[in-house]
């Protein structure tokens, strides 16, 4: 892993990986979407059950991104490696985007199902708080001019958030809940019929790979921007 922390090596590796990841992501998303529409309507929810296939993977990805961002922050803080800082920085806007996507699709799903755009329910509220955590992280990064300093401050914030997130999650759940409980990863197997499980799994794969593709692209862009900037500074000197 650390071998690829060298930016030059990272650039070659990610350069070859990006088209592949992106390609598989596209195929998975296309197949997932096709199966989503091919699946029969749910006996209770009718056609609106199809919102699940774009809503649930967005929420999963949003949480995974925070985990990855916190991990990159930890590595950046301990190893003081700029690439980890760049990785954490590049993950944040994507995470915010997936969180917003989860909230919006959830709201569109909630309208026909629960009869309201928004309820102050445990999961919804903790996701809204997650969005604010992302926004605070991005704002902090943008507010500090010095790049290494910004990276370290943001890393501390990401880690504090990572410690606090389970507590927020717990407190909000304790507060009230209407959202349905866990139905995939539970003892005794999933509660969902396989005709729904397949498109859901494919969509989850597609979302995850899409995130990794965009993440690598953003990291590459950031590295190139920094290179261009140092070249310009060198040219002026």
């Amino acid at each position: 892993m650390l071998r690829y922390a060298n930016p030059a090596r990272f650039m070659t590796l990610s350069g070859t990986l990006v088209p592949w990841l992106g390609g598989i992501a596209l195929v998975a998303l296309a197949a997932g979407l096709y199966l989503s529409f091919a699946a029969p309507p749910d006996y209770q929810q009718g056609d609106t059950v199809r919102v699940m296939f774009i809503h649930v993977p967005a929420a999963w990805t949003a949480m995974m991104v925070y985990g990855l961002m916190a991990l990159a922050s930890l590595i950046g803080l301990v190893q003081r490696h700029p690439l980890a800082d760049v990785a954490a920085k590049s993950a944040a806007p994507l995470g915010a985007l997936f969180t917003a996507l989860g909230l919006i699709t959830g709201s569109l799903w909630g309208r026909p199902m629960w009869g309201t755009w928004w309820v102050w329910d445990g999961r919804l509220t903790s996701f809204l708080l997650l969005l604010f955590l992302y926004l605070g992280y991005i704002a902090l990064w943008n507010a500090i001019e010095d790049e290494t300093r910004a990276a370290r401050a943001a890393a501390i914030l990401a880690l504090v958030g990572a410690v606090n997130l389970p507590i927020i999650e717990f407190s909000v759940d304790w507060w009230t809940t209407l959202h349905q409980g866990e139905s995939i990863l539970r003892k005794g197997g999933p509660l969902i019929a396989s005709v729904y499980l397949w498109p859901l799994g494919l969509m989850a794969l597609g979302y995850t790979l899409l995130f990794f593709t965009l993440w690598l692209l953003r990291i590459r862009t950031e590295i190139m921007t920094r290179r261009a900037r140092s070249l310009m500074l060198a040219g002026e000197a």
């Binding site: 708080l129 604010f132 605070g136 507010a143 500090i144 401050a153 914030l157 504090v160 958030g161 507060w175």
Partner: protein, 218 residues
Amino acid sequence: MTALILRDVRLAARAGGSAMLALAFFAAVATLVPLGVGADLRLLARIAGGVLWVAAMLAALLALDRLFQADFEDGSLDVIALGPLSLEKTSFAKIAAHWLTTGLPLTILSPLLAVLFGLPAQAIGALFISLLIGTPAVSAIGAIGAGLTLSIRRGGLILPLIVLPLLAPAVIFGAGTVLSALDGLRNGALPLLTAFSFAACVLSPFATAAAVRLNLGS
């Protein structure tokens, strides 16, 4: 460490200090709420716990951006950092001083405002206890934000955005304590709030010190 706490408390208590301002802000926000939602005392008693908790939290945040800022600007923070006291202990002292000058006075003022909201006696007790236990968490988590935004010139705007989501558990458990006292229920809100507050006070000085350290390093 005691000397540092005393110094900060004195600074906050004197003219132009933050202690009185936070109290006035707290009272002003609490006064505006009935003007907004109407004077129905039953409704006000219902929302009093949440409103006073949120108002107290905002008032405490108001004083936070000065927590390290003044010492940072005039260089005394560098002197403190060079001195025998570790930055972790310094952070703890700062948190303690902040709580003594905002959290504690706010807690003491809260029963008075609770009476204006028509809160019954047993719920006022619950509000007082929950603020007494919960406001240290506000100071502790707020201090992390203050440390992180130290070198930002207009950090006062970013600080609440960073800190408020992290403080959601305190509001939930704090206001939950008041609500359950209002309904005559016994639930786990107060023990959970205590646990949250303790954990925040113990862990925060380390994160705060790390944040301050990176801003001191040139």
